[in-house]
Symmetry: C2
Subunit: 215 residues, 2 copies
DNA sequence: AACCGTAGAAACTAAATAAGTTTCCTCAAA
DNA sequence: TTTGAGGAAACTTATTTAGTTTCTACGGTT
């Protein structure tokens, strides 16, 4: 595959990702993706043998990117676990809000095996690594022990999924980063014991980070 | 039709409007609308003989609401024409941003006769009434005469349609009302001669006004 | 100038989806 | 007990879409 072909293949992937993230995949036709890029369906099927393979490629690329980012955070020895937790939460928020609800619901209904892959990944990556950090915080007396961490993550996931969405953000007098900062405050203030001062606010997220199709 | 039946009919209309405004009408199935409301397709077809009729009803109701609001503004003798223009612009903005681009493009492609109705309405209502107010301003030396008002409206329509949209607003550090206020400033500063002081800023629009399906 | 390979556009085939209708069943009201 | 209405699902028919094939044009190579 030449470099130009690789570039085209990536462009197909990014355009599909953008459209699938916004609308789900069943509502987006291969014809539409082709038209957006300015190629024919024949060219798309040159790189991806079927629409399902394209959906899979979008999903796997997304999860790989998330995995890589999470690993960088976990493996960063310069960060304390609170910083790690906060960065993980930020990254999870970006992932959840970009890989939007329309696609997740669509996958659950129409491509359950891909949905299961995402669900398993989130369980492993979010519940394990995330949960490990929460557990460490409890052990050190920084986080409260009376709140089940699986519920923390369930609530967090739902809040991000439903509040940081284009439709909601259009109708409230707050920007995406303002909303996210408030969510982080409520969560951290809710799980901290208060016995030790903890800095948990992330560096301000620029709204552009919420752009779909962006790394 | 009983009052309860009328309420159900209206609920079907509002749900359809909400979904069509966000996604266009071809991508929204009658099944989905029925599921959202918790009725069967049979019940929907009781009130609307076909999907096309439902789309037509949504469109006509929308245009009627806009017409009524515009008329109230035009007929309000307590308002100067600058206030009238500004209120018309605000109302046009709410209409354009709510009756979203997905539906307009969908109608143009798949239901051209409905699209033409909207287009004609917009020409008449926006170009005529709107244009009349601009003309009056030029005559009074308040607005510049060297800018064609058809272009003013074309540019205004495009700015509102493309900037005040959920996807864009998610990715910028401004709220919908902040963006709208800036648009209004640029437009009025751009068309005013500056010979006379003019107050043009609207009362602040609450973001909830951008909610689809809301009157 | 001729040939070759590739991709766009559109047509094609087969499968899937959706509009609109009908059937069966349940429930509430008379 | 009977009746009527609506939900759920099945059904029919039409339309759409996934994936394939054909035709044509264009650019590169010989």
């Amino acid at each position: 595959m030449t470099e130009q072909e690789a570039a085209l293949r990536l462009r197909i992937l990014k355009t599909a990702q953008d459209q699938f993230f916004s609308h789900g995949f069943t509502k987006v036709t291969v014809d539409e993706i082709a038209n957006r890029i300015g190629v024919s369906k024949k060219t798309i099927y040159k790189f991806y043998p079927s629409k399902d393979e394209l959906v899979k490629a979008v999903t796997e690329t997304t999860l790989k990117d998330v995995e890589q980012c999470c690993r960088q955070i976990i493996d960063d020895e310069n960060l304390g676990f609170v910083d790690k937790l906060q960065k993980m939460m930020t990254h999870a928020a970006l992932h959840i809000s970009k890989m939007g609800k329309p696609l997740i619901e669509d996958l659950e209904k129409n491509a359950p095996e891909i949905w299961k892959e995402i669900s398993d990944f989130r369980s492993k990556r979010i519940m394990e690594d995330f949960g490990k950090l929460l557990k460490e915080g409890v052990a050190k007396g920084i986080f409260r022990k009376d709140i089940d961490r699986r519920l923390i993550l369930l609530i967090y996931n739902n809040v991000i999924e439903n509040v940081i969405s284009p439709e909601v953000l259009t109708q409230i007098p707050f920007t995406a980063s303002q909303v996210y900062e408030t969510i982080i405050k409520i969560f951290f203030e809710g799980i901290l014991t208060g016995e030790k001062p903890v800095k948990y606010l992330p560096k301000k997220i620029v709204e552009r980070s919420f752009k779909k199709g962006k790394k």
